[in-house]
């Protein structure tokens, strides 16, 4: 049994950080003085096993800014529960002081102002320092990568993931699971996976022809740690061929497959597992449901939905840990496993403040070597922004508004569509926009910006379809991600309604007219999952647009009316 005392040892990251009160302009020096690496890394080693979780890095090798969402709505049983609370509600739930380091790391308010003081986050050389520090406490700590690692930057795109593979290999992970990796195409994924010096896991990665487990990806791996047998089961993103272009990896099939998950848990338990860890790319709500359906999982290291939570969420006997994205956080989870069961857990979500945590010089050098061949292209300044550019949020972010504006003007369209992905770092007012910054929010292997005609009826079908992928009350029918971003058109959405009834009041913004179901509109978008999509690459479209603007400004966007939140 797990005692109450063991649960109390679950510590909040916030408690280890120095609380800071008040808003206003922070001097970076002040932030550095009030926050030290020792404080960030402070952890009383506990039990006999340590897990290190990092996920959804999206190829962010270098420190970045990353604003967390202001709108992250939950539906059904998840309404109002973490991670579906933001801003002041989030700070209240976790006892985080306004303006504190945790407020900057975990919530969106006053982002640009706090960014002045606290600076950038992430950078895999800083992550390496954290990993080394944990390994100094516990040399055999397991490093587990939740996937979305080999995607999301200029260098990652041009090296087909090799830059990330090289740097991650140097961090010596023990296992990994997958999502965007597959958009490199199955041939390239197979090539990399065959050479990986650690386990490539996914109990739900199947051969599509025979509907049997794929040979290259094992469902689980056993590790002997602290006198106990640790089983790590992998779960890749279930809806890859639907959310991403299935034609790029036709040999593979995925799905949630919770019956097979139960079989795997039973199998590892029968083989003597003392503790079962699920390295998951399900997304948080899907993991919560899976924990209630599948019995025998002790810890789920959750990825995909980019949530960062300072405490584990307990579902039955399963602790779910969410470790953020873009290299901004690392979770340390210490377990006390004895007599074939987990007796307790201690957890800390470690924010990677890039100006506070010293870079590991070995990894810095390695990162620089990956970037060196592209240094000139990466650094070229395309324009400036006088507004905060961010993406995260259910309906629109300023980066997406800018991308939609680029599609409307460069592709001469009535309506623009930009995918509701959750990756992409932020830029602060006054920042230069470099080519690297543009690629950080657009890079992908299917980035063609199409231009085609769609009827009002079809546009509504698309919106309803995507809305149901986010707001279906049953998490197993959700794909993660956010609502498709729309430029040039406003609409009303009632998130509590069933599919087909959520979207109304579709309005063409340039004329103020209601969208006519039977009329055709010129629509430009990108990231189509259809094979043979034609058009210029989205990063070129956005670059051309920003060049013409010089300095971009994000006007407030009130074109989406949300009801039922």
């Amino acid at each position: 049994m797990i005692s109450r005392r063991d649960f109390l040892q679950v510590s909040m990251a916030a408690s280890a950080l120095v609380g800071a009160s008040g808003f206003g302009t922070w001097g970076r020096l002040a932030a550095q003085q009030s926050l030290t690496q020792d404080q960030l890394l402070q952890f009383d080693t506990y039990g006999n096993i340590s897990l290190i979780h990092i996920t959804d890095i999206h190829a962010q090798l270098k420190p970045i800014y990353f604003r967390e969402p202001s709108v992250n709505l939950g539906v059904g049983d998840n309404k109002g529960h973490v991670p579906h609370i933001t801003g002041a509600d989030f700070r209240k739930a976790y006892g985080i002081a306004d303006g504190s380091p945790s407020a900057y790391a975990l919530t969106h308010d006053d982002f640009s102002s706090l960014a002045q003081g606290y600076g950038r986050v992430g950078g895999l050389d800083r992550v390496s320092t954290v990993i080394n520090s944990i390994r100094a406490d516990r040399p055999d700590a397991l490093l587990l990568d939740g996937g979305d690692t080999w995607h999301g930057s200029y260098t990652c795109h041009h090296t087909e993931g090799q830059d990330m593979v090289n740097v991650m290999n140097a961090l010596k992970p023990d296992a990994m699971t997958f999502h965007w990796e597959f958009t490199l195409g199955s041939e390239r994924v197979n090539e990399i996976v065959e050479g990986l010096p650690f386990a490539a896991l996914g109990q739900n990665i199947f051969d599509s022809e025979w509907d049997e487990p794929a040979e290259l990806f094992k469902p689980y791996k056993f590790f002997e740690r602290g006198g106990a047998k640790v089983a790590v089961i992998g779960q890749a993103f279930p809806y890859m061929p639907i959310a991403n272009p299935g034609w790029m990896f036709p040999e593979y099939s995925f799905g949630i497959r919770d019956e097979h998950m139960q079989q795997m848990v039973d199998e590892v338990r029968a083989a003597g597992a003392d503790v079962v860890v699920l390295l998951s790319h399900n997304g948080f709500d899907v993991d919560k449901k899976m924990a209630s359906v599948v019995s025998g999982i002790d810890v789920i290291l959750s990825g995909h939905t980019h949530d960062a939570l300072p405490e584990p969420v307990l579902v039955g006997q399963t602790h779910i840990i969410a470790s953020g994205s873009n290299g901004k956080f690392v979770s340390r989870v210490d377990l006390d496993v004895r007599d074939g069961q987990m007796m307790g857990l201690r957890h800390k979500l470690i924010p990677i403040f890039s100006d506070v945590i010293a870079p590991d010089p070995v990894i810095s050098k390695l990162i620089d070597a990956q970037r060196a061949p592209y240094a000139e292209q990466l650094a070229e300044v395309i324009g400036q922004t006088d507004s905060l550019l961010y993406r995260r949020g259910n309906f629109n972010g300023t980066w997406d508004d800018l991308i939609c504006d680029a599609l409307l003007s460069e592709r001469e369209a009535d309506i623009a569509m930009s995918p509701g992905v959750r990756w992409g770092p932020s830029l602060n007012p006054g920042d230069d926009i470099t080519r690297e910054d543009i690629w950080n929010v657009t890079s992908m292997s299917y980035g063609a910006a199409y231009r085609s005609e769609m009827t009002g009826e079809f546009i509504k079908v698309i919106l309803e379809d995507v809305a149901d992928n986010i707001f279906n009350p049953d998490p197993y029918y959700q794909q993660g991600g956010d609502m498709v971003r729309i430029g040039g058109m406003g609409y009303r959405i009632d998130i509590t309604k069933p599919q087909g009834e959520r979207i109304s009041e579709m309005t063409l913004l340039k004329t103020g007219e209601k969208i006519d179901a039977s009329k055709s509109y010129v629509v430009s978008g990108w990231a189509s999952v259809n094979e043979g999509t034609e058009g210029p690459m989205i990063w070129d479209v956005v670059e051309d647009h920003i060049r013409k603007q010089g300095t971009v400004s994000a006007a407030p966007n009130t074109s989406v009316k949300v009801v039922g939140a």
Binding site: K460, Y477, Q479, G500, E501, A527
Partner: protein, 138 residues
């Protein structure tokens, strides 16, 4: 632009056409079930139906059914124009009463499996399978 009442009605109709998803068990599927069971009651346990929550490709959706001791299992795609998919019959020497196949689904709908058990009673399992145009992963 001003909408006349007629145009507004036409728009409303367009919206209504799109709200029929997900399909419900239609009359034709109900007839097939009645024909198979002779109108007998359907138990909730005794047959297992495994189907994906969201189809990767609506044209070929892998499903499997299993009902220990059953003599026959009927599978229906309740939202297809022709709901009948297959009826698997198991003889007395069958080692297991399970089958797997791939089916085509016209849209989001319930797939239903009805098993005729050894004692002559019937059991039903149902799974909602979503067919979506997709896009936009996190």
């Amino acid at each position: 632009m001003e909408f006349s009442r007629r145009e507004t009605l036409a728009l409303g109709l367009g919206a209504a056409v799109m709200t029929v998803l997900p399909f419900r068990v239609n009359a034709s599927a109900e007839d097939r079930i009645a024909e198979f069971t002779g109108g007998a009651d359907l138990a909730d346990t005794g047959v297992e139906l495994t189907a994906p929550e969201i189809a990767e490709n609506g044209n070929t959706v892998p499903i499997s059914v299993s009902a220990p001791g059953a003599t026959a299992i009927m599978v229906l795609a309740t939202g297809n124009p022709t709901p009948g998919v297959a009826t698997f019959n198991f003889g007395p020497l069958a080692a297991s009463q399970a089958a797997a196949t791939r089916i085509r689904l016209a849209g989001t709908q319930d797939v239903v499996a009805i098993a005729k058990l050894a004692d002559g009673s019937f059991a039903k399992a149902s799974a909602a399978v979503k067919v979506t145009i997709g896009g936009c992963g996190g």
